[in-house]
Amino acid sequence: MSRKQRIKKGVDIRLSGRPADTVISAPSASVYAVKPPDFTGVTPKLNVRVGDIVEAGTCIFYDKKTPSVQFLSPVAGTVKDVVRGAKRRILAVEIQASDKNTHKDFGVLEVHTSDKNAILTRVLEGGMFPFFRQRPFDVVANPMDSPRSIHISGFDSSPLAASTSVALDGRVSDFQNGVDALAKLAGESGVHVGVQSNDSTLAGLRNCEITEFEGPHPSGNVGVQIHHTAPLSKGEVVWTIGYQDVANLGAMLASGHYVPTKVVAVGGSECAMPQHVKTLAGASISSIVNVPEKASNGDSVRVVSGSPLTGDQISKEDYIGSYHTAIALLAEGSEPKFLLTEGWLGMGLQRFSLNHSFPTWLMPKAKEWDLDTNMGGEERAFVVTGEYEKVFPMDIYPQHLIKSIIVNDIDSMEKLGIYEVAPEDFALCEYGCTSKIPVQQVVREGLDNLRNELG
């Protein structure tokens, strides 16, 4: 029997260009990349040099602090370049794919007859471990920890997200195999899967506790689901992993090959054909979607790897982010807006607002919105209170937590529940913030500070 949980606070922002429920396979890209900065908390140590020949599954780099955490090449080919930024920080390792894809063979592992150690070892060498993230701190998990439980959000509720039924089409048995493996890794609280209430894709799962979530975004955020199933306390560690990565994990254990399949939702107002695209982790944007030169409003086009609420702004020559399963093409909004027409004093018919001084709340719920990347104002001090609470479905006071982070008051952060949150949980707070505070950045910095402080 699955539990039901209704999330009341939050909001679904219906952006135009929602991906259709069709999947096409992307043509194989010529260049793939693994991007170390995606893996928060990892210090990359290169294992290859430019010009080295690699197989799919060859270790490209590993974590300096925990060398067993390895990051593998998604395809066979040649190491083309190591892109470095300021202070020689590694931004990406590019792999030129060869015509013939060969896989490093890790051997088949029967999950039911293996113990925890055998599975963990295989997950580490099979390159699936970097996809585990931990709470607290929302960083790549540490294989030395024994997590209290492992949490999987079975759906993405953010705007323009991939649909579970499309992404896991034909892969439910892989997913089950992954869950069986996770059940052996997890501690006494086991594996928790949050599923969308009207979606039956994951209904028949065994070996885990299923909670049906109903309600608007952020009901699909794993942090919200943890809070409503088994809240995290100081000193506890839980692991989280994306649902597509669970399927990849299951497939890797069953086949012995590292094949990081991704079904990416491609959408947004500037996307000509919003749909799902099947590709591999690290694929180039150009192999997944055609980015138009100019947006419909005459401005340039922004490519967002990930959700428009939490993703990274990347160039169209870049590669999809390691944890991302969506690409959004949005119009930039760099044109100043006259106060009475589209500016701060306008009617605001074209703005989706959480505030009732805009007519959004009077319009039909089904309306789809074309939103550009304009800030809609300038950053100010906190003035308004109570607006974060409306879109933050946890028993935490978001604004007070943010303030304690801004003043770096570690004692208050701990007391106010920082261990339970990740930047993505604050995405809607940031969206609707009157004072335009960069809330997600504040949370990320707070988590990093706290992590450094605690050693």
């Binding site: 807006k337 505030n355 550009d372 990347t373 104002g377 007391k415 009157t434």
Partner: protein
């Protein structure tokens, strides 16, 4: 609008660093961002953003204040002509009112914004929009015949000591508009009492023009006079008759607002129109307003039960429509910076605010404007209320920790 934007862009270099007018960058910047929402785009985090900003929020409050402002302007004229026993047309009344109101607004905004610009330039940040509302609230809580220089001093005090020393908009502890009013009340007690509530009442009196029985006092002024006296004396009876049906301060007159008082506080109807605007846009807190009203009504009801003097016997619903109660409830107590910031805290804060407003005005006739004192007091107490609300949340979390 392209032309206007090009004009702004063309003069911009003069104000930028190194330009001739770079000292006035803050002024230029605020005018530019006033006329055009800037083309700033998001960099990370949420790539799309809500259109709401502080300018729109503050402007909504100003819109909500307009009914009270217009009614107050008319009421100045109405009270003036009534005090000298003359009839006048609507426009004549508005004209008399405008002669008082416009200079008040100019002084309030002029002094306040001048100081804001100075501090913004000094600190090198943009103008915060907070004073747009404070600058409108200040005239609305002033007595009609207050000298303009006093307003200027009060605004300067409120903005510098009430706000800027704490770090500017969003950092202040007590409400700016009420700080200015309290400053006048304590710094110039003599000038702030007596014949200032009706335009020119002092000179009308001297010229012998004043209608019999009109002393120019407010409802609270009359009621304060009854405290400490036995209920059944003829003097208190006269006062209480003014509050009965057909009297000068009948409940009907108080709700319409054609009574003497501060500029914006008299008309309950005009204030409630503003309240509807604030509540429907979600910019004013319904929690605070509702609990404030509940607190005031409860205190009024308790006083009814005690009934020691005439003031206490006034019906609770009459208590809340006289003086600044309604204005304070809708526009002062709801100031998000100085009110409690947690939802539970807002209920407690509002309730105690309303409760104390009525208590102070009845218990201490020297402070008839109990609302001002109560809201300022609750402003100071708001962080403590929030502290306990947060502590309850923290305790819940720690209890969970002990259970594992």
């Amino acid at each position: 609008m392209k032309a206007l934007h090009q004009l702004i862009e063309s003069v911009k270099p003069h104000f930028e660093e190194g330009g001739k007018l770079s000292k006035f960058w803050v002024v230029f910047d605020s005018l530019e961002t006033f006329s055009f929402t800037p083309g700033h785009v998001t960099k990370s985090g949420s790539h799309i953003r809500d259109g709401i900003d502080l300018k729109r929020t503050m402007f909504t409050v100003i819109v909500a204040l307009i009914p009270a402002l217009l009614f107050g302007t008319w009421n100045i004229g109405d009270q003036y002509y009534a005090s000298i026993g003359q009839d006048a047309e609507l426009l004549e009344k508005m004209f008399v009112g405008a002669l008082k109101v416009i200079p008040l607004i100019i002084v309030s905004y002029g002094v306040g914004l001048g100081i804001e610009f100075y501090f913004a330039a000094k600190r090198g940040h943009g103008i915060n929009e907070g004073f747009l509302v404070s600058g409108m609230l200040i005239p609305l809580v002033m007595p009609i015949d207050v000298p303009l220089w006093m307003v200027a001093v009060a605004v300067a005090f409120a903005v510098v000591i009430g706000k800027e020393v704490f770090g500017g908009t969003g950092m202040n502890i007590v409400n700016i508009a009420l700080t200015s009013r309290a400053f006048l009340f304590f710094a110039y007690p003599k000038q702030m009492s007596g014949e200032i509530w009706i335009h020119d009442v002092a000179s009308s009196k001297a010229a012998g023009l004043l209608v019999d029985g009109n002393t120019g006092a407010t409802a609270l002024g009359y009621l304060a006079g009854t405290v400490g006296k036995v209920i059944d004396t003829p003097a208190t009876q006269t006062v209480m008759n003014m509050f009965a049906d057909g009297g000068m301060f009948s409940i009907q007159n108080c709700i319409i607002g054609s009574i003497p008082g501060s500029l914006g506080e008299t008309s309950v109807i005009a204030i409630l129109v503003g309240a509807v605007i604030l509540i429907s846009t979600g910019i004013g807190s319904l929690r605070i307003m509702a609990s404030f009203l509940a607190g005031g009504l409860l205190m009024g009801f308790l006083f009814n039960l005690i009934g020691m003097n005439a003031f206490m016997t006034l019906a609770p619903w009459h208590q809340v429509v006289i003086g600044g109660f309604m204005f304070g409830m809708v526009f002062m107590a709801t100031d998000p910076v100085t009110a409690a910031s947690t939802n539970t805290g807002k209920l407690i804060y509002g309730f105690l605010g309303g409760f104390l407003s009525i208590m102070i005005r009845v218990f201490n006739p020297a402070y008839p404007e109990g609302v001002m004192m109560a809201v300022l007091f609750m402003n100071v107490m708001a962080p403590m209320i929030d502290h306990y609300v947060l502590q309850a949340n923290i305790n819940r979390r720690q209890k969970r920790l002990q259970n594992i």
